[in-house]
Amino acid sequence: MMRNYRIPVGLLLSSLFPLLLMPLMAIFLFAGKGGPAHFTQALSTPDAQFALRFSLLIAFATSIVNAVLGTFAAYVLSKYRFPGREALLVIVNLPIAIPTVVVGTSLILLWGPIGLLGQYLDPLGIRPMFAPAGVLLAHLFVTFPYMLGAVKPVLDEQEGAYEEAAYTLGASPWQTFRYVLLPTLRGGLLSGALLTFAHSLGEFGATVMVSGNLRLRTQTAPLFIFAQFEAGNIEVANAVASVLAIISFVLFFCLLRFTGKDQR
């Protein structure tokens, strides 16, 4: 297959250039326009600092919670056959299909001050919406399928063979999980956690609904960028945007490294 590749590859590149590559370049070009001084100054405002820190914190928490929950879900769905399993499989993957704004709305309708549950919690002083807890709830919902999707195929592939082998060798269920299953899941866990982290970091639709976009309280980095842009502070918005982009790149390359290693 040594056909001439110049024409198809050229066509592909020329269509991808304006679609993917140029927008990425634009961020960095604009961010660097005012020079390094402007850039650091834009990043050092308390609002920008808070937004970035808050975003990283939420992404970290989301990854941890979903790593545990998603692995557990994958284990149960892969290992057990029970009535309603098929339906549950669809439901846990649903967040991928639902628009994030809808997720935000539904969370408000559940936990908000007049929501289904929120109306009873409100008098007790528990108000998860328009607070960091609400942001975490939204992110857990939206990113749930990523962990599951990374771990379940690994478990499915084993079909319980490793566990059976470990049991006959005398390993207790805990020892089997600790020494046999967990190590084989390492690749899946890492890539699942990285994907979750990356998606959480960039989440906008659901966050904007449930956070109330309160600066220095619930404003994540993407919300901050949007707010600054609307206010006309394009340079500040750009600076934070380029930081987000860099973090994403790093995460992405880590992901490639890990999955590449795993397939060796």
Partner: protein, 623 residues
Amino acid sequence: MSIVLKELSKNYNGLPIVNHINLEIKDGELFVLLGGSGSGKSTILRMIAGLIEPDSGSIQLRGRDVTRLAPQVRDTGFVFQNYSIFRHMTVAENIEFGLRVRKVPPEKRRKRSEELMDLVELAGLGERYPPQLSGGQLQRVALARALAYEPAVLLLDEPFGALDVKIRGNLRRSLKEIQRRLGVTSILVTHDQEEGFELGDRIGVLDRGNLLEVGTPDQLYHRPASQFVATFVGGGNVLVGELCPGGVKLGSRVVLCPPESALPGHLEGARVRLMARSENVEVREDARLLEGHSLGEGQVAEAVFTGSGQRLRLDLPELDGVRCILPVPAYGQEHPQLEAWVAGRPDGHLFQVGQKVAVGLLHYHLLERTGLRSLILVDFVQESRVALDFGLRVSEATGAPATLLAVGGVHERQSDIVARLEKLHSSLLEKSPNLKMCARRGGLSEEVLREVREGRHELVVIGEDEGPSVTRLGPWAQRLLSKSEVPVLLVQQDYPKISRILICSAGGEAGKGDVWLGGRVAKRVGATVSVAHAVSETAEPERKARVRSHLHGAVNSLHAMGVEARARLLDMGTSTSVAQTLLHEIEEGNYDLIVMGMPNKTALATRLVRSNSRPFLFVPLSH
């Protein structure tokens, strides 16, 4: 005894996968469970290891009842077909795993794993990871891992299944040697009979969840009891012969009864299955050189050179009329054929196709007679239960497993048929624990005939109790009767007790099969038998004498079986037809079961069936 299984059973969806298995395995023995796919062999092994819970029965390992124990505490070593080697651990870590979870100190573990790697010929590969090893090496790791903690028993589930032939041979020899050296009691599961023969101290042959026979490889090869084992283990020839005073009659030839296969109740005229392995069929150019029992002159129909010898197919005109179960007769074949294997001669002489040869049997063996495996047709359309109730009683009486068959139309869903059948089946299981079931779709008679073949059933039970009697024995039933190779029992009304049986030999030449089968049923249920033949007053005296002697012979055979019997020479008198005479006798004698030859023209049978509601047993002439 290292391993004792008692009444071990497991069902899936109401079907017995493992059916009341009883087995004792001695210390240090390498026992092979041999069976095809779906025979339940792996299920048994997994139940011993605790990976599957049995429905009933018990498992003892070294005198300890482990039936309800978790797999971790059973102390078994298990080798899986797909290796199940932990990919993220090195070879040494894999081997040490069982010791690690048993909290054995690292230095001891290391020492043990090195010993084992020497044993399985993997010395020096301890630091490798599984993806760097070949399939054969992985299975050696699996074996070492299973042996590391010195388990009470070693269980091997098709351990060579995923390997290519050459590696398989090497590994087999290693396994046998290791097993001998360590003296660990082992069970190996395989579908490969060659493997079973090479490895097994003893072999148990499984078929559809039933342990058919247990024996040494030599016993199973040379003296199998059942036809299944005879054909599954090695091939060869299985012929249906007839017992006669001099031995076994095969066509025009008689061979002596082999001494080791003395049949209980040696019965003249009884059909027996004679098995001869290909290498025990003697082929000579000159009849005077034959050392075994001569089968007369034959002709080479097919000759295949196999290197070390020649595999021949021989036409044997002198065996005409003998039913050949194996080799399976080819379509349009003129004479019965035998398969022979002759060792190559030093002078390189080969037999040629078409060559006339003298054929003999050097060694042969008679297979055990079995109970009637009956197939009961379940009628969901008319909700009729007569066939079911009667058939279950008959199968109970003959001591053989019965199978329920439901045949649905092509427009019905298989799952619907199965669901209905399952419900019925489970309601009957308590009374008949050995009851099996199967569901089919398509034309009634065709599906019944097909199931008879595939399930190796020996009796078909059908019911016809609905509608006016003139519609009975309709087109499908007639098709079944005309094509069935096994007896068909037609039930029209429930007869709770069979105490009087009539064997009609009026429908043409009397088949000995009727007498044999009728006698067998009579013996089991304790019934008396009348053997009847109708002759017209005008028949020649010679014919009458022949009939009389035939009836006399039949009664004698029945007496020999321990059945009370009498002959009835029916004078047709004023009756105009045989049917009328027989009907008169049937009413007069108030019989509970009528046995007759399978009608090639169904007119007589139809007439008899439609005129009364007693059960009829039709026996094919070739039976």
